[in-house]
Chain length 250, copies 2
Amino acid sequence: MEIQVFGVRGLPLIRQGDDLPGMICELVAFEDGDILTVASSVYSKAKGLTRDLESIVPGADAVRIAGKTGEDPRFVQAVLDSSAAILLEDPFILSELPFGHIGVRAGVDHSNIEDGRVILLPPDPMAAAAEIRDAIDRISGRDVRVIITDTCGRAFRRGQTGIAIGWAGMTAIYDYRGDTDLFGHVLTITEEAVVDEIAAFANFVMGESHEGVPAVVFRNCHTWKGHDAVYFTPEEDIIRAALLKEHKKD
Amino acid sequence: MEIQVFGVRGLPLIRQGDDLPGMICELVAFEDGDILTVASSVYSKAKGLTRDLESIVPGADAVRIAGKTGEDPRFVQAVLDSSAAILLEDPFILSELPFGHIGVRAGVDHSNIEDGRVILLPPDPMAAAAEIRDAIDRISGRDVRVIITDTCGRAFRRGQTGIAIGWAGMTAIYDYRGDTDLFGHVLTITEEAVVDEIAAFANFVMGESHEGVPAVVFRNCHTWKGHDAVYFTPEEDIIRAALLKEHKKD
């Protein structure tokens, strides 16, 4: 069946305290099985997960790193405060967040918010996705699936793409191991990060700048079986290990 | 406007010499502006870009690496033959292809083909995309955009996703630099890898195993301005440099 994808148009600028699921339900007639993707930035704004740079006193590490990256030391302090481990300090901070995601500047963002404030990633994006899913069920009676998206750079390739940081009603990975290919061979290693594939296209539909479409609905997508282990363990992660070795030499 | 996404269903197993654009045009009534995504594997099969493992004599490096990865030395030789630079030998070969892409096993694939054969990536996927685009224009008179997709693992996150290796009728990157955000701030660093975002969702629709949907059409997608510099230069690529340093220590 044809898949339909549409942006949720007409949302106002989101402010702390806004009932985001309620506002979305006023604009979308959901059907069971729809996948709703929501930009983490609007979830965070609704929840007040922002910081005022004026209230931040940068520590010695933040001042030192800011001297290398040319950023505001208070912004760098916000990035360090959001990080569980630093993998790279410059030319940009690459860090691991407590929930497992590795990303640039810990996802701390000063775009699409008033000057002097930054938006943080939700500390528990899985719970955020579940919360939105439950709220939509309560309001509309529809069983939708939810992905919280962020944008992030990649290794080896220029440009950001949308990725999933939280999801509910689905698994992150479509696990094909044990399935057969067109010639009957058993697939032994194939795991597809479907939540990231959906989040990527959601980000394309959202746009990045002044277009203001922070939520996108996917209709008629198939379901899949799999698991949620999208983050490598430190032992599995070859690139994390190589970067940490380099970092320790500085 | 709502975006429609549909798999091209009904294609037979593709064989060398098949007129892939012609076969697709028999199944799809294209509209101007449609984006057609095609799995590199079917393009390569139609062009005979496959190798018979029996015809490959593995060299010393292939035998040595195969001893570490547990793979067939002839398969490893095919990977080395497709590679311009090796970044990692084990637990899997990560290499750079002549056209700039960095990927696992150089994209050499033994799934969805007869036993004893492997599928190679097209050596010039940009030309492949342009060729399909031109053929569809000739056959249907429609001005479509084309992306050649592959699947690839990522740093830091488990699972493969679809990526773009060739494109025609669009730029790889949507360059937002100079645009303004919702609050009027000029965006200075934002570049979005839109071809990869579209390829990712195409891969979700294609499926990986026996579903046999190697082409997907996107209708009503917006256009964008940007550039094609999706591959970092070696000087820009921090992670490539860190891996090469590790690799040289072996």
